[in-house]
Subunit: 406 residues, 2 copies
């Protein structure tokens, strides 16, 4: 089977490498023979081993009838969307690692794939090399999924791990991440939760059947987390993790959001450290299932792309039934209407007033706690109610972090 | 699609329940309509809601041409093997949860499926509801897998968790497991590692392509683990887990074994507690991937069966390329030839002699350590060499446990 790769960057070159290195075992284990015959990139690759098959002209791929499967590893929406749509309309399968594309254009592209009786697959768009999308859509297909929650961004998880385990400040941990190449010069997408948010949009669309567009989703990052918060969380037998989650509230409503949360130490999610990612899926028959591994990286992400390519090659005559409907109006719940407990750190607080307002709370402690500093966890209530109650209290609130029940 | 269930026990009845409860969502998400039309069981089910479709005559199923997919949830080899083989030869897909059947007869049945152009699938035979087999064989198909290691038996993991977290003795924890229904009256298969061993045989066959039969595999259980060992492991920043593992040593040799191991606390496997299971897969592109969840239980296991049934129903005209070759002669390595470090607990030891014999060792400590009691971890060497060295030392060895590098 002839494969074309659009975008010869970190992931695209990883795909070529995996196919080259493992072609024998792929043939033996899956009975498919893969060959990369075309690569699209506008950059100059003179001297590269693939030099002869690299082109900057998309039509060399679109018009090549010997190419059945196209891998899109360009990133971004333009021009990836136009290229992918054209390939699908030409009857070529497309495998993508592009979360922004799938999160914003997934429904349209899945409809185009259906119309042309080909596959549009994107395991690599969420969680790098970790099998998430196929287990959710195939292995767990007998379940009604009620909730999906994950640590889906390696940069922010690396930073939090450094804060938790090594007592590094957020700023120092971010600098270290940048030095190591785990964070961009402008780290906003990673540390403010936008990257994780695109991924949970894809997972929510898959889990609940309606396309969830990123522009409707609340996202809060980790830049306000302090070492004091980390210490108080430890006394609550918890760690702070950036959790991307979606929960089905009814047939007409789902909550989708990204925010830091206090995750209990007996949860499997609490043990996910460094640049590793994990995704927990709650099914009515299977209970909690978790998938863990490298959420990014050239070969890890390429592994997921190649898994999908093999799938297309194996079932080239028969399209996988896979997809979701377009967005449902008023489907996304307001997180303020949803129940949670809140961790609160403050100064100038009056414990009696707090207890009068909330009923009982759980006070937390830390070493070197400020004389005027308190921290507590509220009962579980609608977030709006908790915040209104906090607003009425006469204290200086320094941190508010949601809890989790994973 | 009409489904027959062979064996209406814990898992078989769970399959009927999942199909009944989730038929609408299965139709919506996977575009297949499933109906259980026949159930085989020799017991009396008068008054049961499925009474009218329960038969004790296998021919009622074999001869029914409206049945395309047969679920085998009988357990054991006889008569399950004969029934499954007959179904495959009659052109019916078979989905099984039967680890003993797959571990001892998997190759034969996969060949029969291939010959008859139908599927023989068994996700549920390893790890209950956790997606393991499909991620390994599909999602990770671009990788060369080098190692698979798991906590694959809930009973023994429950016992070890009670010992580690609650300081219960092995005997008390076993009794508690029996009271809770997590362990049989005769718990041998679970606590001596035989159940886990059958599962790792299946995973080794899948990972490396040659059927691994249980009779060639070394298995050591948890009945000799003491609370003293648990305490020393803690000082090595580890927990003791029953690990079923397989590692590719060369094209002609693989190690397959089950034994307790000291697992470091920063490993994801260390956080797998109670009756939960997990399976770690090491691929050359993806690195370590771990799948975690409920390894047993009616609905969890049924979830995996139904996932496979949906797969058969979705691709009823096209057999999945899936299987392995028959056993390879002299394929299984002798664990004594393989490298490991050993944790040793002993009395009457001479530290100078130990250090002379092993070079450097790491000494461990525990609260209330006996005056004459020592524990240490050896360097990594061939196990035979380490045991020969131990045999030459004049001390009373109480425990020997292998380490792990997950």
């Amino acid at each position: 089977m002839n494969i074309a790769i659009l975008g010869f960057g970190v992931v695209g070159s990883g795909v070529a490498e995996v196919i080259k290195n493992n072609s024998d075992s792929i043939l033996k284990n899956s009975n498919v023979s893969l060959k990369v015959t075309r690569i699209l990139d506008i950059r100059d690759f003179s001297g590269n081993e693939y030099e002869n098959i690299i082109t900057n002209n998309f039509d060399d791929i679109l018009g090549d009838d010997t190419i059945d499967i196209v891998v899109e590893t360009m990133g971004g929406v333009k021009p990836a969307f136009d290229f992918v749509l054209a390939c699908l309309n030409k009857g070529k399968h497309v495998v993508s690692s592009n979360k922004e594309l799938v999160a914003t254009k997934g429904y349209e592209l899945l409809e185009a794939a259906k119309k042309n009786n080909v596959n549009f697959l994107f395991e690599a768009s969420v969680g790098g090399g970790i099998p998430i999308i196929r287990p959710m859509s195939r292995c767990l297909a007998g379940n009604k999924i009620s909730e999906v929650a994950g640590i889906l961004n390696g940069t922010s998880n690396f930073i939090l791990t450094k804060m938790i385990m090594d007592g590094m400040s957020f700023a120092d941990a971010l600098k270290l991440a940048q030095d190591k190449g785990y964070a961009e010069k402008d780290p906003t997408a990673d540390v403010e939760g936008l990257d994780a948010m695109r991924k949970i949009c894809i997972l929510a669309s898959l889990a609940f059947g309606y396309h969830v567009y990123p522009d409707g989703v609340y996202s809060e990052g980790i830049s306000k987390i302090t070492l004091e918060d980390v210490a108080f969380a430890a006394s609550y037998d918890s760690v702070i993790k950036l959790i991307a989650m979606t929960k089905k509230l009814s047939d007409d409503k789902a909550l989708v959001m990204v925010s830091p949360r206090l995750v209990k130490n007996d949860s499997m999610l609490s043990g996910v450290n460094g640049v590793f990612n994990a995704c927990l899926v709650r099914g009515d028959a299977t209970g909690d299932v978790l998938m863990y591994g490298k959420g990014a990286g050239s070969l890890a992400t390429a592994s997921a792309v190649v898994g999908d390519v093999i799938d297309c090659a194996s079932y080239s005559e028969e399209r996988k039934f896979f997809g979701w409907d377009d967005k449902k109006e008023n489907y996304l719940a307001d997180y303020l209407d949803c129940e949670t407990a809140l961790y609160v750190r403050a100064t100038g607080a009056d414990k009696a007033a707090i207890e009068k307002a909330f009923g009982s709370v759980q006070y937390l402690t830390r070493e070197n706690q400020g004389a005027d500093e308190i921290a507590f966890v509220t009962p579980v209530k609608k977030e709006k109610e908790l915040r209104d109650t906090l607003a009425c209290l006469n204290m200086n609130v320094l941190s508010i972090i949601r809890t989790a029940d994973y």
